[in-house]
């Protein structure tokens, strides 16, 4: 049994040596607590409907959660129809709120996870979460006084809300502009709170911009718009979050002139490769930190081995499960059944899977 011994209390270790880490987790759940040997579980403290087709869910993580910085995200895992799905959500609160995590989830009619969170999650529900990750956080020290320009598109508001709240927590909010794009007026979140923050902080400016409003669309991100609403960006730290098109547009406009440019795009939709066409695809191996390029025409096992990467394997025909590994992100096709697997964090057998697009594997 590989029991992690560091940082675990004696009683916890003694118990786990009798019943095993999985047994420990099992009984903790049976007794209704979120405690676990290593994994992070979080209980839903409250669910707020924001009136912008989205929910804010407040979570209390168990003691295994190591904390976070404003602007980071967590992976949230829930079981839907017997399968555990994992999606990333940004934390929209600040680290000062200690053991309280806030995620904001917009309802996507096609999205299984957002649908589940909107309909099935109640106060008291338990979700599994990951440790916080992501590098979009404010600098510490005197640099945090620099002017900041926050660019949010749609759900991209969530992590920026964390940064904004953090800036407002200091006595006087340093010069900050938030430009927030969404389809129309009904989609904007955090309306009351943003109005309140603006009223209390004279150096904070918030502009809501619509892209599809029937009344008046302000259009998409542009140079003139930024000049007009924020001005010169030379001394400004720029943070952008939104879909990949939006982030790329912001990067093209601002990354060279701004003091700092930090951006994060939502996970791009899985590209579905036409299997007839030969393509070279980048595979990121998270554990070894390597990135390799493989063809979409061969099985991942063959492709990895051809690059000199030894993977445990057995029958090479999909029966023995020896080569199964976690696919963290991306889309694969089961060569045997032709079935596509687009789920984040799901187990695939390398010998009968090929890549449809960029992949991240736990190897």
């Amino acid at each position: 049994m590989s029991l992690q011994t560091s940082k675990q209390s004696f009683s916890k270790r003694a118990l786990a040596s009798l019943i095993g880490p999985d047994g420990y987790d099992f009984w903790a759940r049976e007794f209704g607590t979120t405690a676990a040997w290593q994994r992070c579980f979080a209980r839903v403290l409250c669910v707020e409907r924001n009136g912008c087709n989205s929910l804010s869910i407040h979570l209390r993580p168990n003691k295994n959660f190591a904390g976070f910085q404003a602007g980071q995200h967590i992976n949230v895992t829930a079981e839907i129809e017997g399968r555990r799905l994992t999606r990333s959500y940004s934390l929209s609160n600040t680290a000062n709120s200690a053991m309280n995590l806030e995620i904001t989830v917009r309802h996507d009619p096609q999205g299984k996870m957002s649908g589940h969170l909107h309909t099935a999650i109640k106060v008291g529900s338990v979700l599994e979460i990951s440790q916080a990750f992501g590098g979009m956080s404010l600098p510490s020290g005197p640099e945090c006084e620099n002017p900041a320009l926050l660019l949010a598109a749609g759900s991209g508001i969530s992590p920026l809300m964390g940064l904004l709240r953090q800036r407002c927590e200091t006595k006087t909010c340093p010069p900050t502009t938030l430009l927030y794009w969404d389809y129309d007026d009904a989609h904007f979140c955090f309306k009351d709170e943003l109005n309140q923050l603006c009223a209390n902080n004279p150096q904070l400016h918030v502009h809501r911009l619509t892209t599809r409003s029937a009344a008046q669309a302000d259009g998409r991100i542009s140079e003139e718009q930024i000049k007009q609403l924020h001005g010169d960006c030379r001394d400004t730290m720029v943070y952008a979050c939104g879909g990949s098109d939006f982030v790329e547009a912001a990067r093209a406009l601002l990354s060279t002139q701004a003091r700092d440019f930090t951006a994060e795009a939502f996970t791009p939709p899985a590209t579905t490769a036409n299997s007839e066409v030969q393509q070279q695809i980048a595979i990121q191996l998270n554990r070894s930190g390597r990135t390799i390029t493989v063809s979409n025409q061969e099985s991942l096992l063959d492709a990895l081995e051809a690059q000199g990467i030894a993977v445990e394997s057995g029958c090479r025909m999909g029966i023995c499960n020896t080569c199964s590994c976690q696919k963290l992100q991306g889309s694969t096709t089961n060569q045997f059944s032709g079935e596509q697997n687009n789920a984040t964090n799901s187990s695939i057998r390398l010998c009968i899977s090929r890549a449809n697009g960029p992949l991240q594997l736990d190897l």
Partner: protein
């Protein structure tokens, strides 16, 4: 013998046979979902609760019926953990759930052998090279001669005794199977290699022994020996049960063994045929199937090892239709009848015997 029960198939027929079985598997896999997830959760729950109840009852062993009941419940818990939970989860049947507690690659069970070794010897070797002499170590577990195709040696004269010992100590036999100690004694395996391989095996064995024969008995205080003997008996129950189920799966009268040469140019249809002819089923009720981890449907398990085992019963109807269509024997019988055939093999092939030469090994 068995061969006359099977119609020889042309290459085209073999392809069609394989395609029909592929289709059965595909339909089943497409349907896998929350019913299977709920089922395996229920099994896991039953294993955990019955273990606690069984162990708790043993602490009241001053009242003898509590010892008997506690031992029985703990034994059943260990059987379920071994068969319906551990064996099937480690085949990756429930990997679709993405639950780390039920992941085939990381699951660890309450048995002497390490899961890692078992994944290699069972999931890979046994399931890929089923009943191929010299490739599948499950044929007699390196200890028994069950087929006339195996070379006779005087050692086998006493094999009813070896077979009995293997049954009683089955989990330990499986635990050291992967080490291939025979190779060490004959000098075909270096000391350094065996030392490295022994490390995880000894670690797991020590943990299992301490748990059942020191920690839990000590918690019983004055009930120390009652708890210890209850644990010992529960482990014995599981050993005998799993031995019986597993031996009935591949060593009945009609089960065939194959030479290595069979793998040359073996296509999908041919592979299916070998799985079918090397396996045999047991008839019984629902509880019997669950306690056997559905290995009572050994044929379906060998054809579709990654399909959740709870589906084998319904798949067996379709498999039997395909077997009938292609004139292949579907080897199935009651536990007494099939185990009787296993015992016959153990006794008969302790003595020199010759394969029947009338029909080639695989009538293709």
């Amino acid at each position: 013998m068995s061969h006359v029960k099977n119609r020889p198939l042309s290459p085209e027929q073999l392809d069609a046979f394989g395609a029909e079985l592929d289709a059965i598997q595909q339909t089943a896999l497409q349907d896998v979902g929350d019913v299977d997830a709920r089922y395996i959760r229920r099994v896991l729950k039953t294993v955990r609760y019955s273990e606690v109840i069984g162990r708790a009852l043993l602490y009241f062993s001053f009242f003898p019926p509590a010892w008997i009941l506690g031992t029985l419940v703990l034994g059943i818990s260990k059987i379920l953990d071994n068969m319906e939970l551990g064996h099937n989860v480690m085949h990756g049947q429930y990997d679709f759930m993405n639950d780390p507690a039920l992941n085939g690659k990381t699951f660890e069970w309450d048995i002497a052998g390490t899961s890692d070794n078992w994944r290699q010897s069972h999931n890979y070797l046994h399931h890929t090279y089923t009943n191929i002499k010299g490739m599948d170590a499950d044929i007699g577990y390196g200890l028994l001669r069950l087929f006339p195709e195996q070379r006779w040696r005087p050692f086998y004269l006493l094999q009813p005794i070896w077979a009995f010992l293997l049954a009683v100590l089955f989990q330990w036999g499986v635990a050291i199977q992967e080490l291939e100690l025979g190779k060490v004694f004959s000098g075909r395996k270096s000391k350094a290699v065996i030392k490295k391989e022994l490390e995880p095996v000894l670690k797991k064995a020590r943990y299992q022994l301490l748990k059942d024969y020191v920690f839990f008995p000590l918690l019983g205080g004055p009930m120390f020996f009652a708890v210890l003997s209850g644990n010992l008996t529960a482990n014995l129950m599981r050993n005998l049960w799993t031995y019986m189920i597993i031996f009935c799966g591949h060593f009945t009268a009609d089960a065939e063994v194959f030479p290595k040469s069979i793998m040359e140019k073996e296509g999908r249809g041919h592979w299916y045929l070998r799985q079918l002819r090397g396996s045999s089923n047991l008839r019984g009720g629902k509880i019997f199937h669950i306690l056997s981890g559905n290995l009572s449907h050994q044929i379906e398990h060998h054809l579709f090892p990654t399909v959740p085992a709870r589906r084998y019963a319904e798949l067996s109807v379709k498999v039997q239709e395909v077997c009938k269509k292609y004139g292949q024997n579907y080897n199935s019988g009651s536990l007494p009848s099939q185990f009787g055939q296993v015992l016959y093999r153990i006794f008969r092939h302790a003595l020199p015997s010759k394969p029947s030469s009338a029909v080639p090994a695989m009538g293709v």
